[in-house]
Symmetry: C2
Subunit: 338 residues, 2 copies
């Protein structure tokens, strides 16, 4: 037990060939019963584990997938990672962590890791493809890649996502139904697809309700807390400030609420706020945040499932997989003061 045993050790010990051991351990029904059990026992006894590099080299598969996000530090990804990890584990895959921080070089690097055998497939949660300067590496649509959460239009990759526009519309409709007419929107970073969709959902719902969007009611943010504060302040420097704000993500919404408090406005008494994402602690917030909830763990799971399908020869879902969102009615929305 001093050295790592190899297949050969088991074979010699049992007087069979390495191939037989390999086959027995792989559970191909190709090994007969006296031998089968003996091999298994010997393997257990020696505490044998196959060398993955050797196996990967031979089989040309790494049994690993790459999960690439824009920022591992963002709590938003947590449950997705969890879903991906669980589905991957269940299928015997391990998960490599990728973090681009929107750096094109790093984005390219992760694509390269696919080519060089680090991983067999990739779940991409960045909103775009790396633009390679004068390079080769065509990013062909038949790479085993699934785009989750975000969308990369025209890329040809399978997508797992939500209907951002519809969800945004639902959020705004809720405010309209409460009686709000002056509803502002703090958007994400434009022109990223996700932000654009949420903005479109806002505009659509406003139009459908016959409400106009005054100058300055559409603020462009970047999903960060401080920006929420900042843009909220700007909204309340307007001649006619809004009575409700639909914010493109929870984190900025927290910033908004923070700022409203500083400005002496009560939430939801004076101003209603709706977020988007339903972060881990949004419910524990005060007031508990009314927000759009995404099925994050499920997004992760479905993305991994689609990827596994592709890895075993499938094409993945041809149409984008759209998962349902729900509006969580909590404590930051109320009818306007009058």
């Amino acid at each position: 037990m001093s050295e790592r045993p190899k297949i050969k050790d088991i074979a010699q010990r049992l007087g069979v060939s390495p191939a037989t051991v390999s086959r027995a351990l792989a559970d191909t029904g190709l090994v007969a019963e006296p031998t089968l059990s003996r091999v298994r026992e010997a393997a257990k006894e020696l505490n044998y584990r196959p060398n993955v590099s050797a196996r990967n080299l031979r089989t040309r598969r790494a049994m690993a997938v790459l999960m690439v996000v824009r920022d591992v530090g963002n709590p938003f990804y947590l449950e997705i990672m969890k879903g991906v990890e669980a589905a991957a584990r269940a299928a015997g895959y391990s998960v490599l962590m990728g973090n681009t921080e929107n750096d094109p070089d790093r984005e390219i690097e992760y694509f390269d890791m696919l080519r060089d055998g680090h991983a067999d497939g990739m779940i991409l949660m960045t909103g775009k493809l790396p633009s390679k300067p004068g390079s080769h590496s065509e990013i062909s649509a038949d790479l085993p890649i699934v785009v989750a959460l975000e969308m990369i239009e025209g890329s040809g990759f399978p997508h797992v996502q939500i209907d951002n526009a519809a969800a945004a519309g639902q959020a705004v409709r809720h405010l309209v139904e409460l009686g709000h007419r002056r509803i502002a929107h703090i958007a994400g970073p434009l022109p990223e697809a996700m932000s654009v969709r949420r903005l479109e959902g806002y505009r659509g719902a406003m139009a459908k309700a016959g409400l106009s969007i005054p100058e300055g009611y559409e603020q462009r943010g970047d999903y960060l807390l401080r920006t929420g504060q900042e843009l909220c302040r700007r909204l309340f420097e307007l001649p006619q400030p809004p009575t409700a704000i639909f914010v493109a993500n929870d984190e900025m919404a927290f910033g908004v609420i923070h700022e409203l408090r500083r400005l002496g406005r009560d939430v939801p008494g004076d101003v209603s706020v709706v977020g988007f994402d339903d972060l881990y602690l949004s419910e524990a917030f005060y007031p508990p945040l009314t927000t759009i909830s995404q099925p994050r763990a499920e997004i992760g799971r479905e993305a991994m499932t689609a990827l596994l399908d592709m890895l075993s020869g499938g094409d993945g879902p041809a149409e984008p997989l759209i998962l349902p969102t729900t509006l969580k009615l909590r404590g930051t929305t109320a009818p306007p003061k009058n």
Copy 2:
């Protein structure tokens, strides 16, 4: 450019041997100048990337590390992961995600992944070693493992952590200095080392201040939000409820504050609360949470640095590496009403 080029392709194209190409690409100063540049150019031109499985098999290293946490879904780990990832990347390592969910089988599995060449080293953030039933696999202290955040006493592995007892003491002292005398504690899951230390810090500071700890003032929790609520309620069913609570982590602290609000007690007017961790959104909370801040990114970075040292033959830090904490004074503590 249709097939992945291998070293042999470059060699043939240039009329040199594969060995030379390998050496040139590896930047051993063993290849002379006319050849060196030609190889590099050809490699770039063909967009060559070495096959990692083959290389790993040959060199017996995976250039990957395993980062094992109890629950990937916990926001607490985010910045640590970020620190680990950054340090790993900088050294050319990739990071495999491990998630035990306190399942002993899975814990063992990650140890096995070390043996089978999946990864070269491991950063463990679980509080204990897997107890293997009747098994072999001695977990010897010279495995390339660094324990971060948690502590595994007597394991012999290098540790990167904070002084939990001292930090807890500081939190309690702050409350004492504000004038509180009835200070309760909601602990983490005992008898885990981290929770015990924080509890000890609480007790020590209370003793030093000459304060007694009434029956029921020490509640045993599990770091979860709901438990914070639950235990807070229990605290206020006591004949003499506390005027201040030191909670072993932020998440439970949020639960506590939530519950206090339900009970109609003002924070910090009626009751002061101090947390521990300084989660991502603790500052944005209302009221902003007074808490102990850990240098999480740095813990990740230092752990990875220590691991890299071990992987290149070092012993890692002999003494536990203790990183400094700070008490963040924010909005949930005030003098007692009297």
